[in-house]
Subunit: 419 residues, 2 copies
């Protein structure tokens, strides 16, 4: 895409009303726009990254047998009353609204109740199990405060998967598979090296739940990691009983701040019983379905990448989720540079390489370099009088200090490689 | 996909609480699930079609220079008060809700106000114009009644595009382009032959707006079509003045019921003036931006396809939006049929053909045929003892009465063709 056509523009100054690095950088770069606290519009560059993260998650959920659906925001209170979760004292993040006839409705903050209720239409026998359904859907949560940018929104995109099994054994098998799928997601979005599966409180329904925590200096959670064993526990379950049962010793644990980028829960019959989601087993006996839930905040994951991987110049997008792979900069307005840069832009497009082309005439070289650092595409390719004289294009990774001169052929080869 | 794994199931009976054909067929087929009146979950088959329609619209909007964004449902009243549209007496379909601190918010029923407001950050000069931004986004409309299935929902997916131009001339150029793009969409979803551009009321801001109306016997609108001239007018503007200005004669007009599947509006300065979206022109003068809006209800379009193209046996999906291109049926449970059908399934998958494989063992041939008709994939490929004896696979288009025996090679060739 030609940057001269992109309607968003970068800003030099941080927004005055944001406290988090992710919101500052994403707003300065024109990836997102703040509608109100915790409520953000995704602009063209930001939406490209969000969609790429969504695609990665979709592929990993499909790989473990997930079937995609899309549920609704508007919620019927009757279903939630059956599980006792309609009351604002029980679920304290409800947004509620009303139909014209004064019937109260809710805006979905999660979807256990409607999906369990819906599945009574489709699950009746052990032959229908196991089954896994997921969605990408906008959640609404009436947070008292929303100061963490896209890490904790009042309206945000979430992937939520729900599993339906005949018993705990069948459930456990899928639960273990989901861990692998989740770690694949974190690897592919570029956070694999700093993301850990963490034991956390299981609540009433199982001994533990599991969180996926990405270590960063700004995380709201504290985790305790045994690096040798690769096992971590959340502060909330850090006690002698838990340590003993996991074979961990206090002296081997290192404390880290971390951001929760996903969680998986075993529910058992918590929702299937009150909502009458039963199945007939092999011997003709009716039993509640054994359930689990698996969440990833898609926008939260995007925010975490910005928090964890940016430097003081701007964002550093990992390749698989960068809005564009290459940021091509034309410096100066000489005919030679313009012609050369246009030709390279076309060649990259033809080769199927996603490229943002800074073809703006009114901007200085310094401004273009600063924008390239702020916007954070994996490769910066500069065409200038100097690069042409030196024999080609100056290519630099976002993570490198210095570039090198390459030919067009070399450029195409390097940026076409899967890394 | 193997139908034995698909969690949805077809139903023989129409749902008791639906009055529209689209809801009846889509629910019976397991494409959608009703959460409440006008609020539907998209199930795996339905979501595939919805996403394909979205993809077509995205391609056509990108082709005319649209830049994709994703705005929010939660709405700040302050922006809407500036245009006078916060009041329930002015906009009678608001859903409203509240933050914890009692601040009132709205749920977006349309997005003129927030996008106009946002663009004050990005538009300042004639050099920023023209610019076109669009989104696929969930709209909330508090309709008094919602009995038309996915034709008129309280929560539904819409594509809305907004254009920003320096003057009426620049606007008119894009407006004409948008008509072509819209007609491309209707052609690609299979409604081109029965969809017309219709002159409708322009409201306060321009002489006409334009609607895109698909002729069906259940439409809520009445249009008057001059088939020779290919010009149609909505009943609301059917008067002598309009007819004269369009060069139409009453006696040449035929009345049709039709469903509105899109509309385009010229706003001029209606929103830019109250929201201060101005630009500096070539001579340094500040002027309000000249705006237009372009809507297509994505789910409504899907419902229209069902209303317009189904027969008494079920849905007939056009190829480009069918959940799967081929419905492969294995009849009987003989080893020979099972092995042959599995092999064909794999070959189709390898060839990149989207195929739904009815590999269910407990269902009769009659049930499988009825399901194939109800679900409406463009091609039905049957593998049975009889088809194998006859030398291959019985292939039939959904629109054909009788099938013919083809070899695997012929099958692959026919279903790989773009039609």
């Amino acid at each position: 895409m030609r940057q001269s056509k992109l309607f968003t523009k970068t800003k030099k100054e941080n927004p005055a009303d944001e406290a988090s690095k992710n919101a500052e950088l994403l707003i300065r770069g024109g990836f997102i726009h703040k509608e109100m606290a915790g409520v953000y519009t995704y602009l063209p560059l930001g939406l490209r990254t969000l969609k790429k993260i969504e695609k990665i998650i979709r592929e990993e959920m499909n790989a473990i047998g997930g079937q995609e659906v899309s549920m609704t925001a508007l919620q019927d209170p009757e279903i939630w009353k059956k599980t006792g979760r309609w009351d604002d004292d029980v679920v304290d993040v409800w947004f509620k609204t009303k139909l014209k006839n004064d019937t109260e409705l809710g805006l979905g903050c999660t979807h256990e109740e409607p999906i369990t209720n819906m599945m009574t239409n489709f699950i009746s026998s052990y032959r229908d199990l196991p089954m896994f359904a997921y969605q990408f859907q906008t959640k609404f949560r009436n947070e008292l405060r929303a100061k963490a940018g896209i890490l904790r929104g009042r309206e945000f995109l979430m992937k939520d998967m729900y599993s339906f099994c005949k018993d705990e054994k069948e459930h456990d098998e899928f639960y273990e598979k989901s861990k692998v799928a989740y770690m694949n997601v974190y690897k592919r979005v570029g956070l694999g090296h700093i993301t850990y599966i963490v034991f956390a409180s299981g609540g009433m329904f199982s001994k533990y739940s599991h969180e996926f925590q990405t270590i960063t200096s700004v995380g709201e959670d504290l985790i305790y990691l045994d690096e040798n064993k690769g096992i971590a526990v959340n502060k909330e379950v850090l006690n002698d009983d838990v340590l003993t049962s996991l074979g961990l010793k206090r002296e081997n644990l290192v404390e880290h701040k971390a951001i929760e980028v996903g969680n998986i829960f075993t529910y058992g019959k918590r929702y299937s019983e009150p909502l009458n989601l039963n199945f007939m087993n092999e011997t003709g006996e009716s039993n509640p379905v054994f359930m689990g839930a698996y969440g990833i905040g898609v926008s939260r994951l995007m925010g975490t990448v910005v928090e964890a991987l940016s430097d003081d110049k701007g964002i550093i997008w990992p390749e698989e989720i960068a809005p564009f792979k290459v940021h091509l900069l034309a410096l100066g307005d000489s005919e030679k540079v313009t012609a050369q840069a246009n030709m390279i832009y076309e060649q990259l497009n033809e080769a199927g390489v996603e490229v943002l082309f800074d073809d703006r005439l009114e901007n200085s070289a310094g401004e273009k370099f600063a924008d390239a650092d702020l916007l954070g595409m994996p490769y910066r390719a500069v065409v200038s009088e100097r690069s042409i004289t030196a024999g080609g294009i100056e290519l630099k990774k976002r993570t490198e200090e210095k570039g090198k001169i390459v030919s067009l052929e070399e450029l195409l080869k390097i940026v076409s490689e899967k890394n």
